[in-house]
């Protein structure tokens, strides 16, 4: 009897993991605040990035303000391969990352170990 219950609980857990991690879940997307000659957006780093997708306006210099709340060393760097940026993110400090918005397109960023991802959309 116990074994049957354990099996059911175990399988239910497997089902939950599959649904939770592989199911379609909406990601947060946010459009940067555009001032006259600058646009900026705050990105919180805590178990991933929020927002995960940042929409920027082409041609306006952009600043992404990363604040790492997460204690994990996994997230201690943010890397933008397309821009050659590898910024260290000390915990609970806000670090500015300047983005060149002259080219429209989608650019990914990732943590230092390439486990967490975020995306900039310039249009």
């Amino acid at each position: 009897m116990t074994k049957t219950i354990v099996t059911i609980v175990g399988l239910a857990l497997v089902g939950f993991i599959i649904w939770w991690f592989f199911g379609k879940h909406e990601t947060e997307s946010e459009i940067a605040d555009v001032a006259a000659d600058n646009q900026s957006i705050d990105v919180e780093v805590n178990g991933g990035y929020s927002p995960e997708t940042v929409v920027l306006k082409q041609g306006v210099p952009a600043t992404l303000n990363f604040t790492r709340k997460d204690p994990s060393s996994c997230l201690d760097r943010v890397v933008f391969p397309d821009f050659g940026i590898n910024q260290e993110l000390p915990q609970n400090e806000t670090k500015e990352v300047k983005i060149d918005t002259s080219q429209a397109g989608e650019y990914e960023w990732a943590c230092g170990m390439d486990m967490f991802h975020g995306k900039i959309v310039i249009k």
């Binding site: 175990g10 993991i17 939770w20 178990g47 204690p71 996994c74 997230l75 050659g84």
Partner: protein, 642 residues
């Protein structure tokens, strides 16, 4: 709390439990207070050292993400919570597993962090090479100014032992300059008036003044740092595989762990405690970090090392493509040869031939024209005025001189001019000596020949033979005449010659060669830009302070053909290291997980959670160490003698 602090806390608290684990089987010594002491010690470890893992795991869980911390948190929390339950229901506890796993993983992270910083900081250090201040001429006097106040056009003075502040051109004086930090060239380079100097190089013996031409972000050093930074953070295509794996890795491991528990407990009928140990071991040994670190760390070290050798590799993609290159195509002028053609013979009425040629070539910027003009100037030959001037691409120039039709160019331009058989045979014999022959025609007749030679660089032969010993096919592409090209090719040992190619057709020729395998094209960044970008790998040879960053996948700072082989060697080494890292990271997980799950229990091979934790900690450490060691490996090349 810093990782190091967390590590020490967990180590100190886990130590008594470790002592008990070792001493108990031997002497029967027990920890005073028994299970209660263990509970207290482990609770403190969990609360202080392990809390960040739990926080991070929870934060990512809420976002439908998972990472290494998820595994650490699930593994240790399971061991800890089960032990509390077991304690109160009088069963066997394993608090120490949770504490040991945390300790080992933190140890791994402490060491890994050091290594990672080692790997990434090398290039930033390049910028520290810059001079902090310089002597700048202001209001007729040289005064010391911080480097950021120097503007283009300033006159700067450099004394012996001082650093050159920015890029520029020498106005007065001469000296030997150590440029090794930029070009990788170990010998000091002699510089005199008119020569270019590079910022952050070191002046050795003379005093000179120079005009600042590039400052701030435009200097060669800043450009190199920028390029290398981009390369270090770029992605290699091989990473796509790990990207896919890392997306699903952690949830899959959790599922495997649940399956492990169910199989041991339900099917085999092991105790809850034992089944749980197997499941926890699975969770703890699985290491997505090693996979994630395998490529970026090796790329970082490899490209950084290249920069120190004067070899700039643009990104991971280039590095990967280089490994499949089968053919190396060279531009002739300036790449295989010195690019400084000189007139060696003049056939016909020497003075008249040169006069006609010089009159036509006066305004041309063709390298051959420069050679003719130099000779005309040294021989003090007067010019005539040319009218109806026409430059015909890949052929030469024609014009009218005092009412007579005249031309200077190759035999393609000669069509309606008469040429004697004697001149024809003289032309062939000059060409066989690797001399480019320019025909000079006047009034429907070829009146003479000018032979111009552009000697191969001293190092070209060595460089080509090194490439051939790698099993690569070498091809030379040139606009020059077939005979001349062939003669140069046999001097340096090139396999195949494609001659008489119009400048605009070079990229088509490269395209055609691509049919039989991946092609690397070596040329200068300015004239050969289309061919460089057509080739699978464009290797731009630099000279002076302009690095042709946009045109080449690999930029050689030094104008030395042997660096082509070194660049290939370095790329192969780096890519080999990436593959080795990935292999170990995969094998480690592929073998480690079944062992941890107790698949080999029948053979007596099992892993306790603490050993699994130790193994996982050292897997990522070993990958990073292997990458850092790339700095020490020998770049084996046949041209090591340089």
């Amino acid at each position: 709390m810093k990782i190091t602090t967390r590590f020490w806390i967990s180590l100190i608290l886990a130590l008594p439990m470790l002592v008990e684990m070792i001493l108990m089987p031997l002497t029967g010594w027990m920890l005073p207070g028994g299970k209660w002491t263990m509970l207290v010690l482990t609770t403190i470890v969990m609360a202080l050292s392990a809390r960040p893992f739990l926080q991070s795991a929870w934060a990512s869980f809420k976002k439908h993400h998972s990472n290494m911390d998820t595994l650490v948190a699930v593994g240790t929390a399971t061991a800890y919570l089960y032990s509390i339950y077991a304690m109160f229901s009088g069963k066997e506890v394993f608090f120490e597993s949770a504490a040991f796993v945390i300790t080992f993983i933190l140890l791994g992270q402490v060491l890994e962090e050091k290594m990672r910083n080692n790997a990434s900081d090398a290039v930033e250090k390049l910028l520290d090479l810059q001079a902090k201040e310089a002597e700048v001429k202001r209001n007729g006097k040289f005064i010391k100014l911080p480097i950021d106040q120097i503007v283009v056009g300033d006159e700067l003075r450099v004394k012996p032992g001082q650093k050159v502040a920015v890029d520029g051109e020498i106005l007065s004086g001469n000296s030997n300059i150590d440029e090794s930090m930029i070009t990788g060239e170990s010998m000091p380079v002699q510089k005199q008036v008119g020569d270019k100097v590079i910022g952050s190089t070191i002046n050795s013996n003379g005093t000179f003044t120079f005009k600042a031409e590039k400052v701030g972000d435009d200097t060669m050093l800043s450009q190199i740092v920028e390029l290398v930074k981009k390369a270090q953070n770029s992605h290699a295509p091989i990473q796509k595989l790990t990207d896919k794996v890392s997306d699903i890795f952690v949830p899959v491991v959790l599922i495997v762990a649940i399956a492990t528990f169910l199989i041991w407990y339900v099917l085999i009928g092991a105790s809850v405690a034992n089944s749980l140990i197997f499941a926890v071991s699975v969770v703890v040994i699985a290491c997505p970090c090693a996979l994630g670190l395998a490529t970026p760390t090796a790329l970082m070290v490899g490209t950084g090392r290249g920069a120190k050798m004067g070899i700039l590799i643009k990104n991971g993609e280039v590095l990967e493509t280089v490994n499949d290159v089968q053919t190396v195509v060279f531009d002739k002028t300036g790449t295989i040869t010195l690019g400084q053609p000189q007139v060696t013979d003049v056939i016909g009425d020497g003075k008249r031939v040169l006069q006609v040629a010089a009159s036509l070539e006066e305004s041309s910027e063709h390298p051959l024209a420069t050679a003719i003009m130099d000779t005309a100037h040294t021989k003090k030959i007067s010019f005539e005025t040319a009218e109806n001037f026409h430059a015909i691409e890949g052929q030469g120039v024609s014009a009218t001189l005092a009412g007579q039709k005249a031309f200077v160019g190759n035999e393609k331009l000669q069509h309606d001019f008469k040429m004697s058989d004697k001149l024809k045979s003289q032309m062939a014999s000059l060409q066989d000596q690797a001399k480019t022959v320019v025909l000079v025609g006047l009034n429907d007749e070829v009146i003479g020949l000018i032979a111009i030679q552009d000697a191969p660089k001293e190092t070209s032969k060595e460089a080509i033979s090194a490439l051939k010993s790698r099993g690569l096919k070498t091809v030379m592409l040139t606009g020059d005449n077939q005979r001349v090209a062939q003669a140069i090719a046999s001097q340096v040992g090139i396999d195949q010659v494609v001659a008489e190619v119009m400048p605009s057709d070079k990229s088509d020729q490269v395209q055609a060669l691509k049919a039989s395998g991946k092609v690397a094209f070596v040329g200068d960044g300015i004239n050969d830009a289309p061919a460089l970008s057509t080739a699978d790998v464009g290797i731009a040879m630099g000279s002076g302070t302009d690095i042709a960053i946009d045109s080449g996948g690999i930029v050689l700072v030094k104008n030395d053909l042997r660096d082509v082989d070194r660049a290939l060697a370095l790329s192969k080494k780096t890519f080999g290291r990436i593959k080795l890292n990935l292999f170990w990271a995969f094998i480690y997980n592929v073998l480690g997980i079944p062992v941890a799950a107790g698949v080999f229990y029948g053979l007596g091979l099992t892993l306790s959670p603490e050993i699994a934790g130790l193994a996982m900690a050292f897997s990522s450490l070993s990958v990073v160490t292997s990458s850092v060691l790339l700095n020490k490996t020998k770049i084996t090349s046949k041209v090591e003698t340089a």
